[in-house]
Symmetry: C2
Subunit: 322 residues, 2 copies
């Protein structure tokens, strides 16, 4: 049992708090992808729910805790998916949600945050600027700041995906997980290392937004000056020390992939699996494409973490004229 | 309890026979669609499984029965999805599967039937020609013919979707179901009329392949000379009397929709739900688009029955240049 901030009993208990619409997402072999990749591929699909990403698992836990403690409002910074999920989870509990995001975030994500009734404040710059503004806003208003990956509920919510992977039959040889702030990776990783320790936990980040992967390799926080990738969902520059400490205990390797491999992954998902996914969700396939020998003949699970994508950009990446 | 050929106890028992990968498919509110449609819309997603359609539920039952009776081989005619599912279910049980299909069926469906190890025989003409050839082949070889919608297992497998819809909380005001041979419609309809009789069961067929809907309206089998629709999965011309008799007991209305409405439905699913679906799966949205007043403010479930589509054709329908 890795000695992270996460707790397996709490993760199991989380299943009783999280709205079932987010739990037990599809997990299935996708043989049409396998011919292209040379390994067995199972898809864990986190896009078929009201917010089209895995983030609802965490925000359900977060909001449950806030409401229990009598909080009436919360602020978060978001690349788009957390904000959408927090807005969704907050709405039915009468929690006043403010989301701070970069003006450059996908319009599809920003539109949905607004439609779900959250206050949306846009900032110039990237996710880290949004994070700084959210910290400021929360202090100014005396309101709880929800911090993705730092707040253990966001990790333990994501970790319920790990339970579903671990319970799915013979252990996978490897699980490929998108690496951003680290909630998804440490969450799933903690459960896998606890329950099926022989399954390799591989976390994947874009070469052009490599801060957390480089930190894992260096075993200390490494920041970057830019995070310039189409995988907007994982484009942070300032890794959180506590999350890195957890990641060091559960990840077997941290891989970096090129933008063109992410696009190739997007194309494979559409062509062979009929799935429209956002770039962060294609990091796993990108990793296989960049090192087929490593995965040859093995059974790999890829976590399709989100499907919120602006169609015009998606068409552009795929070379399709809309 | 409608007096069809189906049986609720058998349908409940079917859940123990069907591979769990086909059961408990996602069911979720899709608010991004609602703004466009003027009613509450829940999506029942039958595409996130190894054969990307609901047909696996039925073929699991069919193959279980065949193997129990010592059969070693089976033949079916298919528009593409049944063949794929029968090939999948047959493969692990050592059942020798032959699928007869029209040469005009989507390449994606035909490729997957072959890849799953079934024998594929192509015929000129449409589904009805494939059906005639399958009957001939089965007789010639003394092999069991699997007949979609006529074989009650295909209906009762599909009916497990009905259980999941009926158990999902407050009853839906209406459920929209694609109508082809009738297995899906009579299956879901039987369960809904048994468990939540106030839920309206609406079956939808393309205007250009209207045989079963016209038969329902006339209360007798009506055949057509052609079935010329992009919704290849429901394009039959010769309704089966036994299935019509069941449909008359469970459907509240049979709607016909235009091709351009089906395409509009495809576009809505992609743009607002991030879902690539085949035309048959867009019949429900097409029905809402053609009669918004009928659905205004109501809570409607649409069964997204399949996602096997040839991308070049899909792009063409959507006016996208690949």
């Amino acid at each position: 049992m890795p000695d992270t901030r996460l707790d397996l009993a709490r993760i199991r208990a989380a299943r009783r708090v999280i709205d079932p619409v987010f739990l037990d997402s599809p997990l299935y072999r996708c043989e049409a992808l396998e011919r292209e990749l040379g390994c067995r591929v199972s898809v864990k699909l986190e896009t078929a729910n009201p917010v089209r990403s895995f983030k609802g698992r965490g925000t359900e836990l977060v909001v449950h805790g806030l409401v229990e403690r009598g909080e009436r409002a919360a602020v978060c910074a978001s690349a788009g998916n957390l904000g959408q999920a927090l807005a969704w989870s907050g709405r039915d509990h009468g929690l006043d949600v403010t989301v701070v995001a970069s003006r450059a975030a996908p319009a599809a994500k920003l539109d949905r945050i607004r439609a779900l009734g959250a206050h949306l404040e846009l900032v110039d710059g990237d996710f880290e600027q949004a994070r700084a503004r959210a910290v400021h806003l929360a202090r100014e208003r005396g309101v709880r700041l929800v911090e993705d990956s730092l707040d253990v509920e966001t990790c333990e919510g994501a970790a319920t995906i790990g339970l579903e992977l671990a319970d799915a039959g013979p252990p996978f040889d490897a699980v490929l997980i998108a690496l951003g702030g680290g909630a998804l990776a440490t969450g799933i990783g903690h459960v896998l290392k606890s329950c099926v320790p022989d399954t390799e936990v591989l976390v994947v980040q874009p070469e052009r937004a490599p801060a957390m992967a480089r930190s894992w390799r260096a075993r200390r926080v490494v920041t970057t000056d830019s995070a310039d990738t189409i995988a907007d969902g994982v484009a942070g520059r300032f890794p959180i020390a506590e999350v890195l400490a957890d990641l060091l205990l559960v990840a077997d390797d941290a891989l970096l992939v090129r933008e063109e491999s992410i696009i190739a992954g997007l194309r494979l998902f559409l062509t062979h699996a009929g799935l429209v996914v956002e770039p962060s969700a294609a990091l796993g396939l990108a990793a296989i494409l960049e090192d087929r020998a490593r995965f040859e003949g093995r059974h790999v699970a890829v976590v399709v973490c989100g499907g919120n994508v602006d169609l015009p950009a998606y068409y552009r990446w795929l070379g399709v004229a809309s």
